[in-house]
């Protein structure tokens, strides 16, 4: 079931186009990653989904409600972590969590405090005395406390230490297990790869590619040195492989299919120094944005 739908979503600022004709969807219970370099339009896309910006063209819906015209209904169904959460510095962590728990009908102070505990956060401190990472954790606790069907996170693990990053990724997995849809942006490809089922890649305000992680996980690159003439693959295997070799005998093979038939063929070739590695999201990202 489609929970989040964007159709031809476009945003212009005068002559500058921040996002153009962006169409994608996310199903209920799906974790959808959002990738792109700085200025690719990630934050603009998230702000359009939240109804903070009026689309120049196109539309987006969440659970059938228009993101710009029905913001209250939309906001009842989601919680959002901004890319750079800035919190009122006069409050303590506890006061902030209690305040946001009162604002969202699907949240409660108990849930917020439980979340803070999971993130190992000292909520008795005033926010002005918290480090950037602690403030990020506090904002995360406020965001992840409401029991809502959609969680939208803009770079949730930025400023966090490795342990906290692990906790956040675990919380995202738990959200998915609970049937929630998660849409999050990140610059850390390994994180996106770890938890997402699909990833959308933006390039200069346009949706460059939608990637199914299951497909990416099947993709491998094989590097080897030829010690003699090799016999080209036959049948279905031939169509599945992309083979390059240089005059020095170095061969690179890319495959998006299962490894078993390929391994059988490889065993019959005159090869040495064979190395098989998963292609990963990095290679897909590099296709659009050069070296990542």
């Amino acid at each position: 079931m489609v929970y989040l739908q964007a159709s031809g979503l476009t945003k212009h600022y005068g002559r500058f186009t921040a996002l153009e004709q962006c169409t994608f969807q996310a199903g209920q219970g799906e974790v959808l990653g959002l990738l792109g370099p700085n200025g690719a339009g990630k934050t603009t896309l998230l702000r359009l989904l939240l109804g903070f910006l009026e689309p120049s063209a196109g539309s987006a819906t969440i659970d059938g409600f228009d993101c710009y015209r029905q913001t209250i209904e939309v906001h009842r169904r989601l919680s959002y972590l901004p890319g750079d959460p800035r919190l009122p510095r006069k409050l303590t962590g506890r006061q902030l969590l209690q305040f946001f728990a009162k604002l969202h009908p699907s949240s409660s102070p108990q849930a917020a405090l439980k979340m803070a505990k999971r993130l190992a956060l000292d909520i008795s401190r005033p926010i002005r005395q918290m480090s950037t990472g602690m403030r990020q954790k506090l904002a995360l606790a406020a965001t992840l406390a409401p029991d809502v069907p959609l969680v939208v996170l803009d770079e949730p693990t930025s400023n966090l230490d490795p342990n906290a990053r692990g906790s956040v990724l675990q919380l995202l997995r738990e959200a998915k297990a609970a049937g929630k849809t998660v849409f999050f942006s990140s610059h850390v490809l390994s994180e996106v790869e770890e938890v997402s089922e699909r990833v959308i890649i933006l390039r200069q305000g346009r949706l460059a590619e939608t990637v199914r992680m299951a497909d990416v996980r099947h993709q491998h690159r094989i590097r080897a040195k030829l010690t003699g003439p090799f016999s080209p693959p036959q049948g279905a295997l031939a169509g599945d492989l992309h083979i390059e070799h240089d005059p020095n005998g170095l061969m690179t093979i890319q495959t998006g299919g299962p490894l078993e038939p390929l391994l059988g063929w490889l065993a019959r070739q005159p090869l040495e120094e064979l190395r098989i590695e998963p292609l990963g999201l990095k290679a897909v990202y590099q296709r659009h944005h050069g070296s990542a």
Binding site: P82, L103, A139
Partner: protein, 279 residues
């Protein structure tokens, strides 16, 4: 939900509000004590002889009226600290309402809650208006306590100064509304303050020029400060109430109407505008 917003907004502004109220209360009380130490009949004669004619035109009422007990008390409402403290409260709060909170990013997570943008403006502006009332009340309390404790040589009732207090409240509503409107238009708080200060300087220039030159008297119609006349209203309502009550309602109605209109315009702009990512 909206109660949480109101309580939080009130808590955020309590320190500033208490500061403004106590300073104003203290200033008015202290000023009354100083005034009680001066022989105004003698001082008024001196001022009439010494002050140049063009300067006397800037006074809210003729010098002999300021020398009356009501004049001596109420002219304090026209002193610089009173205007400054009211401006401090209204401009700080008004410019913070939208440009301030959008600029520092603290509105970002609140906007993602199932709360109408209008509720965010009304809770903030509601507390600002309550504060305006509190600041005006502090001025009246300072006057009342001053009258009771200082001991003037003439009798005067503390209710005489309620119209001046209401006039101070009205000008506060106007300033709060215009500062909030500036914050809805401006992309940053600094620009909102600049817009408001520019507007205020222009208005005060209009008033001074309008008072000093009869050729430029028409300028007085283009400044909201012409509607802030606590001394004239207090003395006029005592001497000719049938003449001054219509003026009282007219000036205060204009200030409050324009102030609330500016608040409504600010809310409308904010509800429709794009909310950019904080810088």
């Amino acid at each position: 939900m909206s109660r949480a917003l109101w309580c939080q907004t009130l808590r955020d502004s309590l320190f500033l509000l208490l500061g403004c109220c106590s300073l104003l209360f203290g200033f008015i009380w202290l000023r009354l004590w100083i005034v009680s130490q001066i022989d105004f009949a003698e001082a008024a004669n001196l001022f009439t002889k010494m002050l140049p004619k063009f300067f006397q035109r800037l006074l809210p009422v003729p010098i002999d009226m300021i020398a009356t007990i009501e004049g001596r008390v109420v002219v304090g409402y026209e002193e610089l600290p009173v205007g400054l403290l009211m401006a401090l409260w209204t401009v700080t709060r008004g410019t913070e309402c939208l440009a301030g909170r959008l600029g520092d990013g603290t509105l970002e997570m609140m906007l993602a809650q199932p709360v109408r943008r209008l509720a965010l403006v009304t809770s903030h502006s509601g507390v600002t208006l309550l504060g305006v009332a509190a600041v005006a009340l502090a001025a009246w309390l300072g006057t009342a306590i001053g009258i009771f404790t200082v001991g003037f040589d003439e009798e005067t009732s503390i209710t005489t100064y309620l119209p001046a207090t209401f006039n101070l409240f009205s000008v506060g509503v106007f300033m709060a509304g215009s500062a909030t409107l500036a914050s809805a238009i401006a992309p940053s708080r600094a620009q909102a303050v600049a817009i408001f200060v520019g507007f205020y300087v222009l208005e005060i220039t209009f008033k001074i020029l309008g008072l000093m030159s009869s050729d430029l008297a028409w300028l007085k119609k283009w400044t909201f400060l012409s509607a802030y006349e606590p001394t004239q209203l207090t003395i006029g309502l005592k001497s000719s109430p049938e003449l001054y009550w219509p003026l009282f309602w007219q000036t205060n109605g204009l200030l409050i109407g324009l102030g609330l209109g500016a608040l409504a315009a600010a809310a409308t702009i904010f509800c429709r505008r794009d909310v950019p990512a904080p810088l």
